[in-house]
């Protein structure tokens, strides 16, 4: 069949609902006219005279129903909103996908499979039907899916899985059927189609078999599985791409078995190079001061930031620069943007001088320990301007990506947390409740070191948190853990904290002048940037600890 005829047939199929509705409406109108014409003029006039009122009543009834359905039942209609996106409208080119080099290589293979399907079949290869993209949010899964569609040059149907879920059981399943039917029709016309289901975990989580609910999600998921299987049978060139930031093991195993989402693409947070490229890409879209902004340095500072975070930082910087009546983004704008995104907006409180002083010393303690003892973290900013619940904050960021934590790094975390407490105690001879979150953090790390990671001094090896429900997935009875073991572990946790406390006290006494300097600077300026902090330490001949 010629391509044009195929597309004509496809359009007929896609428009069949409209055609059916128009035919039915036409038939009804013709019948109504025929009926009216067969009436005598008097009765016809009566009928016509009643029609406006009837139309108003019908419209009123419909409005009441729609209002009740949409507002009282918080539902929408059985058919989902238009999911189809034309390839040219997706407008995400392969070159637009910055970073994600590993994922891009794998995705390219998928593009080739879509493009050259016949070749794969010829050599007896198996056609990929499902591609599952996993990874933290904001790492570019949707972006990559769009780029695949653009590159493959086929229609792209995009839906969020949450759109399938409705109040009535069966609506979700019906929407899945509609989506795949449409994909099938488009594939017939254009030679292929991509179905992209975002936030797949909304319907893809482990199915529950309970009488108290979950049937709608189950039936939607079942329908999705059936449809993906159906694609195999029909040999249709439809690729289903799912994206989720939920852990793989939280998805139903049935979804992950071969033949369904059999290829998995892990899209992780970008590394240093990728972050640099991403910063370069987004900064290329705004005017920025090249003298003050060092992209390499920013990339180093933005460890664990996702591409979406980086995009947000640049956009926020541009907004701040515009508000500051500057023509180009400067480093301080970027710094403020990062601070806003990471720490929230400043929330000035009227502190009494004593409390302000206490806060400044508390934060100065954190800064000194972090700078001098932490092997992997840099101070980004110290501030005694309140944000959210905190009266002050020392914002720090990792120097490099570490996918594991060393004992030294963890101990440095604990010491940093305890530094505020120690400083308050030395300076004022008393402490405040401002240490609450610090203690929670320190205690949590110490506890995990001893109970989970074998970093204890009592020789206990193993993850003791699997006893009981602390891990959430425990299968071992908590009562199997003896009191003496618990006592030993808890005692060692306290030992770690005490040892760290002692180290911090020693350091503080030794470096008290620096602490005092920073506290006074903070009281004066309220905020200190990394460069200012670094300069103070260098004045005292101190260098930052390296890993």
């Amino acid at each position: 069949m010629p391509q044009k005829f195929k597309i004509f047939l496809m359009n007929l199929k896609l428009q069949r609902t409209k055609i059916l509705i128009i035919t039915a409406v036409l038939a009804l109108v013709m019948l109504a006219i025929w009926g009216m014409m067969s009436l005598e003029s008097f009765y016809r006039n009566i009928t016509l005279a009643q029609m406006p009122l009837q139309l108003i009543m019908v419209a009123l009834n419909a409005l009441i129903f729609v209002y009740m359905y949409m507002n009282l039942f918080k539902s929408s209609w059985g058919s989902s909103k238009k999911a189809r996106v034309k390839t040219e409208q997706v407008n995400v080119k392969w070159s637009d996908v910055i970073g994600l080099d590993g994922a891009k290589t794998e995705a390219w293979e998928v593009v080739q499979l879509i493009k050259d399907r016949a070749k794969v079949k010829q050599i007896g290869g198996k056609i990929i039907k499902g591609l599952l993209m996993l990874g933290p949010p904001g790492c570019g899964k949707t972006y990559l899916a769009k780029a695949i569609a653009t590159e493959a040059g086929i229609p792209f149907l995009s839906m969020a899985a949450s759109e399938f879920v409705e109040m009535f059981v069966g609506v979700g399943a019906s929407r899945v059927r509609q989506l795949f039917k449409k994909a099938q029709d488009l594939a017939d016309g254009y030679g292929g189609c991509i179905v992209f289901i975002d936030e797949l975990d909304a319907i893809g989580r482990n199915r529950t078999f309970s009488q108290f609910g979950g049937q709608e999600t189950n039936s939607t998921q079942n329908q999705l599985l059936v449809q993906i299987d159906g694609l195999q049978e029909k040999e249709a060139n439809v690729i289903v791409i799912g994206a989720t930031n939920a852990p793989e093991d939280s998805l139903d195993p049935a979804m992950l078995r071969p033949g369904r989402f059999d290829r998995k693409l892990y899209i992780d947070k970008p590394n240093l190079d990728e972050r640099e490229k991403t910063f370069e890409y987004y900064f290329s879209k705004v005017k920025y001061d090249k003298a003050s902004i060092d992209i390499k340095r920013l990339a180093r500072k933005a460890v664990y930031k996702t591409p979406a975070d980086i995009e947000n930082i640049v956009k926020e910087s541009a907004l701040i620069a515009a508000r500051d009546n500057k023509e180009a983004v400067e480093f301080r704008h970027v710094s403020e943007a990062i601070e806003r995104i990471d720490m929230g907006l400043k929330h000035r409180r009227n502190l009494v001088p004593k409390e302000k002083e206490q806060t400044a010393w508390h934060e100065a303690g954190h800064v000194v320990v972090l700078y001098l003892l932490h092997p992997t973290e840099d101070v980004f900013k110290a501030s005694i301007i309140g944000r959210r619940e905190a009266l002050g904050v020392v914002h720090h960021s990792p120097r490099e990506e570490w996918f594991t934590r060393s004992k030294e790094s963890l101990l440095a975390d604990i010491k940093t947390s305890l530094a505020g407490y120690v400083t308050e105690k030395i300076k004022f001879g008393t402490t405040s409740t401002g240490v609450e979150s610090d203690f929670r953090n320190a205690m949590g790390i110490a506890h995990s070191m001893v109970w989970k990671w074998g970093m204890n001094s009592v020789g206990m090896v193993g993850d003791y948190t699997i006893y009981g429900t602390t891990g959430g997935r425990s299968s071992i009875d908590v009562f199997q853990l003896s009191e003496s073991v618990k006592e030993k572990l808890n005692s060692d946790t306290q030992n770690i904290l005490q040892k760290c406390l002692k180290d911090v006290e020693d350091l503080m006494k030794k470096e008290w002048k620096i602490t005092e300097h920073i506290a006074l600077e903070l009281l004066k300026k309220e905020e200190l940037e990394y460069d200012e902090i670094d300069a103070i330490f260098k004045d005292y001949g101190k260098l930052q600890t390296q890993a």
Binding site: V29, M37, S41, F42
Partner: protein, 331 residues
């Protein structure tokens, strides 16, 4: 855009077809033929139709019009109803401006006896639209079963001719020239000797007759009144005297049965009050204002009363005392 155009085309087609069907089903030019054809087609009845002014007359020849008890047979009643329905359909779905129609039915074996039904087209329309109830609709219909006035007249004349030994060949000519003329009252409407005797019914005389007809219903339905008095006759007419003196004249003949339930004065008042209430109902129901006063006369006791249009408008049945609106006189 394409879909929008398609809907526009559909709407245009529908509109043109719908508008083409807006013409009257029965154009006035062939009004009579339509009635005849409809009665023949739908009910296999051969009728004759005549029109005069704004009145249509339909003659329906029937067999077995009356039974041995001198009441209308069921078959004849159905046929008359069918004719009424047919003429109503044509009148309502026509661009003609007929206001009244008279259905004249008689038994071909006893042509002297006839039933005349007079209706207002507007009443039929209002009934069809649910503006008036079925009971009210039936009260607004004038039904008269009687010996044809023309037949009576011609019989009397012929008897006189016989007594005078007028040659038969002259009788028909004299009858035609001097005694066969169009009626002047609604009571004279009929069909005799292959000729319609009809007049153009006017709204005032129709209403006057309707009041008289309704008074008969009141005497039939009000048991106390019926037990106390006997209505011998009830007639209504619309009288125009001089240039501007227009009145509705109701003449009844109601006699006391002397049962003792009412004194003669009480009974007379009750009769007048009943007639007044009926008159108010009719005048108010038709929003009729083309009269100056109403006269009610009881021929049996010679009592008469005059009510002006303004007083009749103020009258509230069961609330207003009749002395407040009526001025009595005795002749």
């Amino acid at each position: 855009m394409r879909i929008g155009r398609l809907w526009l085309v559909i709407a245009c087609i529908c509109l043109s077809i719908a508008l083409s069907g807006c013409a009257p089903t029965y154009p006035k030019e062939n009004f009579k033929e339509h009635v005849v054809r409809l009665c023949k087609k739908e009910y296999k009845l051969d009728v004759k139709v005549e029109t005069i002014g704004k009145t249509i007359a339909i003659y329906v020849p029937l067999t077995n019009l009356l039974d041995f008890a001198f009441t209308l047979t069921q078959d004849a009643g159905e046929k008359i109803n069918n004719v009424i329905l047919s003429v109503s359909r044509v009148a309502l779905s026509s661009d003609s401006n007929y206001e009244f129609y008279c259905v004249i039915a008689h038994d071909v074996k006893i042509p002297e006896i006839q039933i005349v039904i007079i209706k207002s087209v507007d009443d039929v329309k209002r009934y069809m639209l649910g503006d008036i109830s079925r009971g009210e609709y039936s009260k607004r219909m004038l039904i008269d079963m009687k010996v044809s006035p023309q037949a009576q007249k011609e019989r009397s004349i012929r008897e006189a001719f016989e007594r005078m030994s007028v040659d038969r060949k002259w009788q028909e000519g004299v009858m035609q020239d001097f005694f066969r003329s169009d009626p002047t009252t609604l009571g004279d409407i009929g069909y005799w000797g292959g000729r319609f005797y009809i007049k153009d019914v006017s709204m005032p005389e129709f209403l006057a007759e309707e009041i008289a007809s309704r008074v008969r219903f009141v005497f039939r339905d009000d048991k106390k009144l019926d037990e106390a008095a006997m209505l011998r006759s009830s007639k209504g007419s619309y009288v125009v005297s001089g240039d501007s003196d227009r009145s509705i004249k109701i003449e009844i003949a109601a006699e006391s049965r002397n049962t003792g339930s009412f004194t003669s004065e009480e009974l007379s008042d009750k009769i007048f009050a009943s007639v007044l209430a009926v008159s108010y109902e009719v005048v108010h129901g038709y929003k009729f204002g083309d009269f100056d006063y109403l006269t009610i006369t009881n021929l049996s006791d010679g009592r008469s009363s005059k009510v002006t249009k303004e007083d009749l408008e103020k009258y509230k049945p069961k609330k207003t005392k009749i002395e407040d609106v009526m001025v009595f006189d005795t002749f």
